[in-house]
Each structure stands twice: as C-alpha cells, then as structure tokens.
Amino acid sequence: MVTVRLWGSLAELVDGKREIEITATNLRELLEGLGEAYPALKPQISRGVSVAIDGRIYNDTWATPINETSEVVLLNRLVGG
C-alpha cells in the first residue's frame, strides 16, 4: 500500500481525508486506482494532476516506480512560462 497525500480542497471531496491509501507500484496504477477507489477525485484527475514522488514532480510517465515507503503527494497539474 502507498500513502497518498491530497491537497486541502481535494481532501474535501473524500470526507476530509488528507491521506488515502492505495495499492500501486507505479504512477499508472496510482492514478487509475485513485479514480476507481474515490470517484469524487475523477474530475480533477482527468483535468490533470502532477504527482510528487519523493520530492520530484511527475506528470505522465506511467512506469515511474513507487515504493511502499515513497512519499507520494498529489498536486495541481503544473504549468510554466
């Protein structure tokens, strides 16, 4: 199981839980698992999220590995200039 930390306004969609647990070994499993376990998160996930894994930020790469001890934080999908 991986612990996923949500940002505040996402937590409001899952009964105020700031952290949720999900079975995932990579980014793809994480994003799919979240949407299935918590349908309320689906609209935001389909609009796009970034995921910080051990302090580095990922957007798309499905195969990015996630360990049980990894720090996983969901972020709004980032843009730059």
Binding site: W7, S9, A52, G55, I57, N76, L78, G80, G81
Partner: protein
C-alpha cells in the same frame, strides 16, 4: 525511486562562454523572425476586434467587405468547422475568435485576408457587428461577488463554495498543521492585504505567422512561438485537421516569457488561407498585442504570519485571489502553492482562487502566479523582521526550507539551494554597503518548480566528423549554443564542430513547449543521451574495425580506444576517423533520444535591491541590485547571467511602473509602449549576479532550469527596499510615483 542522473565530473566545454552560433545572423539583421518571411501570392490577414469589454454578438454582416476589391476571404466564428471537445482547446478557439459573446476589449470577432494592408483595413471598417453591451467586471474581488456580471455559466469546478459567483472557476487549498495553534505561539502576528496589477510579458516581437492551407488539409505554418508542436496540435484540433498534415516551422523568436505558449492568430490565418487559396500573413500591431494577448493575472492577496522574538515563523496563512482574464487559468493555484515554498513551516494554510473577468485571457508569464505571491509573503516577513529588530536575511535563514523540509505545497524537498543563496547574499559586499539619505535596502526570496516534459533530440555524425543536432524547442535565449556545448562535452569534440538547429514538426517527434525553464534541463538531458547513443554506435564500429568485442572499447576524449590490456593494442580512433569510414562499417551514424523528462529540480533565488525614494515626488530609483540563484550547473554562464538579469528587470518593471489601466467602460487605456511603461536603459543600474551551483540530481551534468525563478523575488525585494526607504509599507503594485507620494503623505 527515480534514479539519480548526476555524476560529478570535470568539464571542458560546459561552463565556458563561447560565442553563440546564431549570433552573426542576429547582429547583422539576417535572422528571420515571425514577420520577416514572405510567400508568392501572399495576402495580408487582419482582425476586427470588439470595442466592448463584455457584449453579446447579435449579428455580424460581412457582405460589403467580402465584395470589396482585393478582399479574398472574410471569416467569423461561424466559419470554424469544429467545436473542440477539450475545454482548454475550446477556450483557445473562443479566444482566437469570439462566439456568442465578446468577453474583453480587443476580443477578435472577424478577420479578413486581402491583397494589401490598406485593403484589409478598409474591409474591416465595413464589417457591421451589432453588439448588445453587457455589464462588465475587471477586478478580482468584484468578480467573486454573487451579484457580479457573469462571463460563463456552469464552469465552476467542484470545491468552489456557493457563496461566490460563477466567475470563480477553481478554489484550491494547500498546507499542513493548524495555523490557529501556530499564531498562539507567536510574539507578533501581522496580517495585510496586497494588490498587484496585471502586467504583460512585453516581448518586443509582436505575434506573427505565415499560413498556407489547401482544401486537402495539407498545410504549412511559419510562426513565432514558444512551441511549434503546441501550435500544430492546437491548430489541428481547432480546424479538424490531421496534425501530420500540418507542418509548423518556428521562426526565430523575439521574446516570449510565457506569452507565446498558446495560439492567437494561427488558426485564423490557416482558415483564411484555406478560404482564399493563398498564403496569408498575419502580424499583430503593438496595440493588438496589449489588448488581445498574454497579460498575467492581477491579484488581491491576504497574508497572515506569526513570528517569535527570535525570528521563528510559527504559522502562516495566505488567501490568493487571482483574476485570469476571460478564461480558465491557474495562476491563483500556483500562487497558493509557491508563496510559502521557501520556508520550513509547521503550520501553514493557503487558499488559491482562480477567477474570470472581462480582460484578455491570461497567458503564462515567467513563473506564472509566483511573483505576486512572493511579493505578499516576503513583504510580511520583512515587516515582521523590521518590527522585531531582526536581520531580514537571518530571519529567512532561520526558517529556510532545506533538504528534508516538508514544503508548504506538500512534498518533502530533496537537496535544494535556498540556504546557499541566502548565505551568499549575507556575505556579499552589497548587503553591508552603506546607504545614503532616502535610500533603503530590501531582500526577498523566490521559488519556482521548473519542468521537463516531452523531448526529442537527434544527433547526426556527418562524414567529415562534424555533428548536426536537431532539437524541437524554439531558441529563446541561447539554447542552441547550450545544446552544442553539451553534445560537444559528451562527444569530446570542440563545440564549433556541433551545429544545432531547431527542427520543424515533421522532422522530429513531439516536443513540449519552451516553457517551465525546461529546455537546458530536458533538451540538454536528451542531447547528452543522444550523444551517448551515437557514442555507443561509434564504439561498436571501432570494435568491428579492430575485430574486438565492443565491451572492450571505451570512449575517451573524443575517440574510441581499447579498454584495458586484454583488448589488444590499437591506436585510438577519433570521431572523425570513425565517421569517415561509416559507409564501410554499416552506414551513417546517428544517435537519438526521446523522453518525457520528468523530475526536474525546483529552484530558489534571493535578491537584494537598493532604492532611493524622492520624498517630494514619490519617484523611485533603483540604486543597486544583486541576484543570487542556484543554477545547478551553468552550461553557459553568460546566458545564465542574462536570464537572471532579465528576470530581475522584468520584476523591477512590475514593481514600479507596469500595469494594465482600464477606463470605466472596461477598455484598455494604455495599449502601447508609451504608457505601458517597461523599464528603459536609463532607469537601471548594472544588475549584478551570483550564480550558485548545487547540482540537480536529476540531470547528468546537474543542470537546473534558471529562466523563471529570477522574476519571483524582485517585486518583493523592491517593495521591501522602497518601504524601508520611505518609512511606510507599500502593499500595492505598481509602486508608481502617485502611489508612493500618497503613502508618504499619509504617514
């Protein structure tokens, strides 16, 4: 776990300051920018724009224009063939050509293509648009009220409360701990509201493109853009084309700063070309650039911070309300994520609001959303330090985020360079230099994420031993030079032997836009990997020539050589030697690398600003300015300095005089360089820089993006400096002379 790419090494090319390969073209006027190219039979395309801030478009009559001599095509929104499914693309189309409503002064409503500029202008003048003028709203706090004029219905996202208007599209909350507990532990709590005006990226080259599109859907587009793949994909989606049929070639780009990360004219130009059967060139006037392209958000921000007598921040709260113009954007979200990012906080809560108003659609502007947030946060920290009698750098050092700090936006930081920039600032002579009468010194920190994204590089080894490198990101500040340097470093040959070009969309795979300070990091990474790929092939060719196993060959100083005593004795084969016999050893040699380069390292900077305030007029003069920033590894230090200097000066302009000024009717009053006051040479001193190099573990050479962070601290650094010089806290940008004088008079 993501694997570390960085290995410490010594460099022979990286870190030097060679001349840029595109330099001679640019100093002789030969370089071709967006508007510098023509095509046989070319028409001029021009746009008719709404004079109203908010109006229903009742009807558009183009019949007179269409019948005029020289007019070859006239289009309105009704001529666009598809409605994109993707909300973001639908917004882009709506911004390119208004549908049922004009949402801001300058919103495009029709376009013509004609045989001359004069004919196009005359035709535009005959187009009759019947508008029903609607009430408009420009200010973010006004737009959030329930009784505000509403731009779009039904776009509120989940999480936006019912007690704000439909103009509020998103509300985002970040943070951890409980600030209310933290404020109890503070010796001093300061809460203030801040305002910042909308500013424009201010690139000197107006948007321009030359489009050809046939009735068969085959097209070519020449355009000044930060992302030609983005331009291709967006235009294809908007026009219902196969993206493979549309080839986009980027021109030299005359500045972007985020403002050229979307399309404005391109779909219109393509459609006009298709309708007229002729190439169509469109170039915005400067007035159009200001009225209809790229400003960033204006903001209203509440910050509350508690501090103990020894300078420890006990709690921090921020409410960031940003208006993004007429369509969805996420500047407020990014403000809420970045404002407190430099600090190690136990109790922090930030809320970001993204709101629409009757202003042009906000485009990204260098670290979008972050400079305004830093202005507000760093101002309160400065005021706390001042009132508690503490050194403002010491206070920041005491609270600085470092490796292992849980950031205000969530993740725990890996190795970062904030502390190093603060220490460098503290020990720099600037910090201890004496100040004169009416002068003040301000310091501020800034943070930006930096990105990677889709990237392709191809590296061709030519028969004469030179190397051609193709990358897919427009070169906005010297990236061709940086790529040639990194390829040369890796291959072990002189930089002059590597020529880098920007390939068109048909010549290389998908590349993310030149944004997010990503190019030197991500394209650099792909360049190094492509060079390694070519080296692997060259090693195999040498091994074949020598009749030994490729594992027994290594690449040293630009040549293959036997590795270890068992490989046998062979003189090294240079790159040129291997290239010369490529036809004999299997054929041409090239390396390539395609990647979605994720995991870019975050970036921090600290700026010191000295200003002098004229107590009788409120005029502010920048006396001295120094930038300290972590570059990971500066590939070309002059170009890194240039990024830091340019970012600082854009921030100085934002702090002092730049602003979008609207009349009561919602029309823009200063759509030109005369009254949109970007800094001129005589406004400024030299901008000193100190580049720190704390390697980015995610890049083979330790490179970190540097382009954006430089604009984050200056708003606050200048405001803190002016506040100390004037003896009154400045909370509204720009700090134009009337505002400063009014503040002085209130004291």
């Amino acid at each position: 776990m993501p694997k570390d790419e960085f290995t410490p090494r010594t460099f022979s090319v990286v870190g030097t300051r060679p001349l840029r390969p595109d330099g001679i073209d640019k100093v002789t006027g030969r370089a071709r920018y967006g508007a510098d190219i023509s095509a046989p039979g070319m028409l001029t395309g021009m746009v008719l724009r709404s004079p109203h801030a908010h109006a229903r478009i009742c009807s558009i009559d183009t019949s007179v224009a269409a019948a005029m001599p020289g007019v070859k095509a006239v289009i309105t929104r009704a001529d666009f063939p598809v409605h994109p499914e993707n909300n973001g693309t639908a917004d882009v189309l709506d911004n390119c050509m208004a549908d049922k409503k004009a949402l801001y002064d300058g919103h495009a409503v029709a376009a013509v293509a004609a045989s001359s500029r004069r004919a196009a202008l005359d035709a535009l003048a005959t187009i009759k648009v019947v508008y029903e003028v609607l009430p408009h709203v420009l200010d973010v706090d006004e737009a959030m009220k329930l009784d505000a004029p509403i731009l779009h219905k039904g776009r509120k996202q989940e999480g936006v409360p019912a007690d704000v208007s439909d103009n509020v599209l998103t509300r985002t909350e970040y943070g951890h701990g409980d600030p209310e507990i933290g404020f109890q532990m503070a010796d001093l709590v300061i809460e203030r509201q801040f305002k910042t005006a909308a500013t424009h990226q201010g690139y000197i080259e107006p948007h321009s493109c030359l489009a050809t599109l046939g009735s068969d859907g085959q097209g070519d587009l020449w355009v000044c853009t930060q992302g030609h793949y983005m331009a291709r994909n967006t235009c294809a989606e908007i026009l219902g084309l196969d993206s493979g049929c549309l080839r986009v070639t980027p021109s030299e780009i005359g500045g972007g700063f985020g403002g050229k990360t979307t399309v404005f004219l391109e779909p219109t130009a393509l459609l006009l070309s298709q309708k007229s059967g002729r190439p169509v060139k469109m170039t915005m006037t400067r007035e159009e650039v200001f009225r209809a392209s790229g400003p960033t958000a204006s903001t209203s921000i509440d910050i509350k911070i508690g501090m103990t007598k020894d300078g420890t921040i006990t709690a921090a709260k921020g409410d960031y309300r940003y208006q993004n113009g007429a369509y969805e954007a996420m500047n407020g979200t990014l403000g809420a994520m970045t404002g407190f990012a430099p600090y190690d906080l136990d109790h922090v809560k930030t809320v970001g609001w993204d709101v629409v108003t009757n202003r042009p659609k906000a485009a990204a502007y260098r670290a979008p959303g972050a400079p305004m947030a830093a202005f507000a946060v760093e101002s309160v920290i400065d005021e706390l330090a001042y009132k508690l009698g503490l050194d403002p750098i010491e206070v920041r050092l005491k609270n600085a985020a470092r490796e292992g700090t849980k950031s205000a936006y969530g993740p725990t930081y890996p190795a970062i360079g904030l502390e190093a920039t603060l220490k460098a600032a503290k020990s720099h002579p600037h910090w201890s230099a004496p100040l004169g009468e009416n002068q003040g010194r301000g310091v501020a920190c800034g943070f930006w994420f930096n990105f990677g994204g889709d990237t392709c590089v191809s590296l061709m080894v030519n028969p004469d031993g030179t190397v051609s490198l193709s990358e897919g990101n427009p070169d906005i500040g010297g990236s061709r030079a940086a790529m040639s340097m990194m390829a040369a470093e890796e291959l072990g040959i002189p930089m002059e032997r590597v020529r880098t070009i920007i390939a068109d969309t048909a010549a290389l795979g998908q590349n993310e836009v030149t944004d997010g300070s990503r190019v030197t990091f991500a394209v650099g990474l792909a360049t190094i990997k492509a060079a390694r790929h070519a080296i692997q092939i060259m090693v195999e060719r040498a091994a074949m020539t020598w009749g030994i196993d490729p594992e027994a060959v290594e690449w040293v100083d630009g040549a293959a050589q036997p590795a270890g005593p068992n490989a046998g004795k062979h003189p090294p084969m240079s790159l040129a030697e291997i290239a010369a016999i490529a036809s004999n050893t299997g054929g041409p040699i090239s390396g390539h690398f395609e990647v979605n380069a994720e995991g870019a390292g975050v970036s921090f900077g600290t700026h010191i600003a000295d200003t002098e305030v004229d107590p009788e007029t409120g005029a502010v003069k920048i006396i001295r300015y120094t930038v300290f920033q972590d570059a990971g590894k500066a590939v070309h230090p002059s170009f890194v300095e240039g990024q830091l200097q340019g970012g600082a000066v854009q921030g100085i302009g934002w702090a002092l005089n730049e602003e979008y000024i609207y009349g009561k009717d919602g029309t823009l009053q200063n759509a030109g360089f005369l009254d949109y006051r970007i800094p001129v040479a005589s406004d400024l001193p030299m901008i000193d820089t100190a580049i720190l190099e704390i390697p980015n573990p995610g890049h083979p050479y330790g490179v970190r993006g540097v382009g954006e962070t430089g604009i984050v601290p200056p708003l606050a650094a200048v405001a803190n400096s002016v506040s100390r010089a004037a003896g009154v806290r400045m909370t509204s940008l720009p700090m134009s002379p009337p505002k400063v004088l009014a503040a002085l008079k209130k004291m």
